[in-house]
């Protein structure tokens, strides 16, 4: 009896793998992908920049400020706040903006960079902190995940490191 049960289970299992194989390209792969997509996962904020806090409208373009990203104890990325200037096509030849990052009505950083739209061009610019909550970055480009001024194609992403020393005071 046990042997018979084992045989049924064995061939049942083998048949199941064949059914899974046959269904994979048509809907099973999609179903598994959908399950992953709906699992409530999100990309780590050190890569994605975190959620959006507020958006400022300018003449034809937007400045999007993200919620500050506070990284974990052993993470090698310093805490930062991300600012997006978009769309790239609408940005002026020279962007020179003071931005309120924390929404207190006072500007926190002064961002300046020249837009170079030639293919493969690397942006560089300055981010001057207007108070001690943020760090000043001079001639910043694609330096690190927390010190950044890059053109992603759709937007210019600027990441300003938080001044953790002032925060701890």
């Amino acid at each position: 009896m046990r042997k018979r049960m084992l045989l049924i289970l064995a061939y049942g299992g083998a048949a199941l793998t064949l059914i899974i194989a046959a269904c994979t390209p048509f809907f099973l792969m999609g179903a598994f992908s959908s399950a992953v997509a709906h699992a409530g996962l999100h990309i780590d904020a050190a890569y994605s920049g975190g959620t959006i806090a507020r958006t400022y409208e300018r003449h034809g373009y937007q400045i999007v400020v993200h919620v500050p990203v506070h990284t974990r104890a052993l993470q090698r990325v310093d805490p930062f706040v991300q600012i997006d200037f978009k769309p790239v096509a609408a940005l002026p030849a020279v962007v020179d903006e003071e931005v309120d990052l924390d929404g207190d009505g006072l500007n926190d950083v002064h961002v300046t960079f020249a837009m170079d739209r030639s293919p493969g061009a690397k942006l560089r610019g300055n981010v001057v902190a207007l108070n001690d909550k943020y760090q000043t970055l001079m001639d910043v480009g694609a330096d690190s995940f927390s010190q950044l001024l890059v053109n992603t194609g759709d937007e210019v992403v600027v990441r300003v490191p938080l001044n953790t020393e002032s925060a701890s005071r």
């Binding site: 064949l18 792969m29 992908s33 997509a37 996962l41 890569y47 994605s48 053109n151």
Partner: protein
């Protein structure tokens, strides 16, 4: 006088058994014919013939490893051609700049999967600079690639490493060059290293919130994409990738005739071994027929056999069901086996049941990579 061994099956019977795979291959590539340019259609047609032809030879000769290896080596060497060409066409370089990472455009590779598990499980955070959902700029999103990997793993278990992994074929190619191994004595403890690396990578990735294997240890970054060299750290990463690739994927396989990266390094391979436990197919040894000649042990590309395991009639957990031991055994002691059935009873049925699933998905997944790479090569040769 050498008398050629009789064919395992007649041409007619082999063709009949191949028919489902031929129809499956046609089904898989029909959309390509509908929507493709000439190069893509040629690539698809070649792959249909290639995969069907190899399966026919498996049926005709009764051998598995020899024919599977042709597909697998082709996959290993053609995947980088298609991938690198698409990278260069899209961004002009193999390196991935930080701006592509922050915009979530890094294609997800299944080898990162073990690294992201703990943060995903406990913090719902994916520590990879890709995107969860596919986009126009990144069709190889995390959800798509994990969905694909999981479906294939349910069917194949650890056989993923010999029927689906688009990297393993590179070292299998280099391992097949020499007739005899130059280095024959390998410490059996080497096979524990992937488990150690897996543990190290999983824990360190969770601690520092970085895909450690991907950032520092993956030899295949040398033939796919790597972080753009813009600092001392990225330069060091690049050197590590090149050294690991040259050592583990080219030189050592050539000298040992083993898949050294897969057998002695790859943490994803160790992770994949766990799925052998839930897969109904395995290789077993009929002790009544076994004469302890160790031909199977010599043939095994990943040292998934030990004297003890053969005595127990089993392979080790890291067996990737490539069929090398079965093909090498002159006494028919090494057999394909369906768990729950008697060892050595109807082994060909177990082989067929396994091969239909594994080859079918290899045709779908690896076949589409091959077709794409062939189309790319034709395009580069200005065929069209």
């Amino acid at each position: 006088m050498n008398v050629p061994a009789p064919a395992y099956r007649t041409i007619g019977r082999s063709a009949l058994l191949t028919l489902p795979i031929a129809l499956w291959a046609l089904l898989m590539f029909t959309p390509t014919f509908r929507n493709a340019n000439r190069n893509q259609s040629i690539g698809a047609a070649v792959v249909i013939l290639f995969m069907t032809g190899l399966f026919f030879m498996m049926m005709r000769t009764g051998a598995t490893y020899r024919w599977r290896r042709i597909f697998f080596v082709a996959l290993g060497f053609l995947f980088p051609v298609g991938f690198i060409t698409s990278l260069i066409a899209e961004r002009g370089t193999m390196s991935i700049p930080i701006e592509r990472m922050v915009s979530g455009d890094t294609p997800f590779c299944f080898m990162v999967t073990p690294s992201i598990i703990l943060p995903a499980a406990f913090a719902r955070t994916v520590i990879f600079p890709g995107s969860i959902l596919p986009s126009a700029t990144n069709p190889h999103s995390i959800a798509v690639m994990i969905g694909l990997w999981f479906a294939l793993t349910l069917v194949m278990g650890k056989a993923w490493c010999s029927y689906a992994c688009f990297f393993g074929g590179i070292e299998e190619g280099f391992a097949g060059i020499r007739k005899r191994a130059k280095i024959r004595k390998l410490d059996p403890r080497l096979r524990l290293i992937p488990w150690a690396i897996l543990l190290f990578v999983v824990l360190l990735s969770a601690a520092i919130y970085e895909p450690v294997y991907c950032m520092w240890l993956c030899p295949f970054k040398a033939v796919t994409e790597f972080p753009a060299v813009r600092s001392v750290q990225t330069a060091l990463q690049f050197v590590v990738f090149i050294v690991l690739f040259a050592g583990l994927v080219v030189v050592l396989p050539f000298l040992t005739k083993k898949r050294t990266q897969c057998g002695f390094f790859c943490p994803f391979g160790a992770f994949q071994s766990i799925f052998n436990k839930i897969n109904p197919f395995e290789i077993r040894f009929n002790r009544e027929k076994c004469v302890d000649c160790t031909l199977c042990q010599t043939a095994c590309p990943t040292m998934a056999l030990s004297a003890d395991s053969i005595r127990e009639g089993k392979t080790l957990l890291n067996c990737m069901k490539c069929g090398a031991c079965v093909d090498a055994c002159k006494k028919d002691a090494a057999v394909w086996h369906l768990k729950g059935t008697e060892v050595g009873v109807k082994p060909e049925r177990a082989r067929l049941l396994f091969l239909y699933g594994a080859w079918g998905l290899a045709t779908m997944f690896g076949g589409s990579i091959l077709a794409n790479s062939l189309a790319t090569m034709l395009h580069l040769m200005h065929w069209n």
